[in-house]
Homo-oligomer: 294 residues x 2
């Protein structure tokens, strides 16, 4: 099966597991960009199933994994990472289509890929990790958007077990949703996102706490700088605790680099070395300016 | 002279010293919101004067301080803080109107207010500090905008020497430009902006350096979180070196608080205390959520 960017979808039907911000946005985007494709949703609670049927017309939804999984060619796991192995075990115990690919949208890959790949190796299905770099400080189906994946980077994390045709199908899927595809090993992924996503998240949290913990009245004087620098600190604590803990080795390394830079900066200020401070700020500016303007 | 928010401007004419982002935006906003008021611009270099005359129709401009200052009722100093005392000395040596108020737009107040107040105490004019919390990562007249001050917080820093009628006139001026006024002592101002503006700026710088210094390729996977958290790190190194150095005592205190929070976070990750991490993130979210949505 040759891989071309613009081929017709090779998926018969897709099952989205857990209809939160990402799962709900996936459903909306699939419906917009792959019209006619059958979309099913699994949710743990019946109330969540009822909400899905209310706000996402055109899908079927159930709390029963075997029903949702039957005959689908692609499953996307959208629950918090720590719940993925349990659900994966249950999926692996069902009747699976011969061509089934299981993927996910998790923010950490090393441990999860190892675990989920092992779960599906004995089955007819195959696991292959995805990480669409899209999200928001908001969570939940109510914030789902059909344009969430537009132009987002999506990192696929193939391993020695990954079949080229599976990689090709998964690339096609995410490209159709509007993503730019990157591929890297799971460990390389975790290093990369620790720097570009988890570090900014934790620094936004630290900035918020150091700015406001002692006295929130300084908020009256806030401007765009504080607003932007701390935006992601409004993210879901439960979800982010899971992500940071899963990727703790890489996150700690990034935070230690930040601490080293911080001590250097404090030293420059205390010794009043304005020339060194100017160079330090100019280095940061030169690096930040590498990011293309939107 | 009673202070009312909607009184006709009591200013005869206004001189803007240094036409950068803030000076240029001031001119545009004054022209929009106080039509008919005479606006003069002083610039150090003749090329800057020429640019002002080209891009800001309706103003007069000169490199000669005495000419620009003659008869005006309000001067706004918009150059980098470190250059303010030298210019203030030159202004103080000119013929000044009886009712002249000198103010500024500087981001640090303690030392500057003390110095500039002392310079003008023996003259007919009076200095009173202003800090409109508006700006951009961009600098220069080319980025000047007529809406830069819209809804911005503007902190006035009166002292024991400040006359109530001067405070009233200056409040009226900034309110007419679209600002929300706050008043606090210069030292309180410096503490407040260290937390809500200078800390976010330095944390954006540290995040950029820790994310990208070792390998810029991680930028390919960047998303909105990195973009927003580091936006202000693209600011002018020269200007920010001056600001941070002027306010170094308060900035160092804020950075030390951030370092303490950082070490706590690293400890939670290393000991895998997910419950404590969740609480830590929830505290930051609760504080960040105090900021009204735009």
């Amino acid at each position: 099966m040759a891989f071309t960017l613009h081929c017709v979808s090779v998926e018969r039907s897709i099952a989205i597991f857990s209809p939160g911000l990402l799962g709900g946005s996936l459903v909306k985007t699939i419906q917009q960009r792959m019209p006619g494709l059958e979309v099913r949703v699994w949710a743990r609670r019946q109330e969540a199933v009822d909400e899905v049927l209310r706000v996402l017309p055109g899908v079927t939804a159930s709390t029963d994994i075997a029903t949702v999984i039957q005959g689908v060619s692609l499953v996307v796991l959208c629950m918090p990472i720590q719940h993925m192995p349990g659900i994966a075990q249950q999926i692996a115990g069902c009747e699976l289509a011969d061509d089934l690919i299981i993927t996910d949208v998790g923010s950490v890959k090393g441990g999860v890929v190892r675990e989920l790949e092992a779960i599906f190796l004995p089955t007819k299905a195959a696991f292959l990790g995805s990480h669409p770099m899209a999200g928001s400080q908001h969570t939940g189906l109510a914030h789902a958007r059909g344009d969430l994946f537009h132009q987002a980077a999506c990192i696929l994390t193939p391993t020695a077990h990954t079949k080229p045709e599976h990689l090709g199908r998964l690339r096609t899927f995410w490209v159709k949703l509007g993503c730019r595809i990157q591929e890297m090993a799971p460990q390389q992924h975790d290093h990369c996102v620790a720097r570009i996503s988890h570090l900014p998240h934790t620094m936004a949290v630290l900035t918020t706490l150091a700015a406001l913990r002692k006295d929130t009245r300084v908020l009256d004087s806030s401007a765009g700088g504080f607003r932007d620098t701390t935006r992601v600190a409004g993210g879901d604590p439960e979800m982010w605790a899971g992500i940071l803990m899963q990727n703790r080795t890489e996150v700690v390394a990034a935070l230690q680099d930040a601490a080293t830079e911080l001590l250097e900066l404090v030293e420059m200020l205390q010794t009043m070395d304005e020339e060194a401070l100017r160079r330090f700020l100019a280095q940061a500016k030169a690096l930040r300016d590498l990011l293309p303007a939107v």
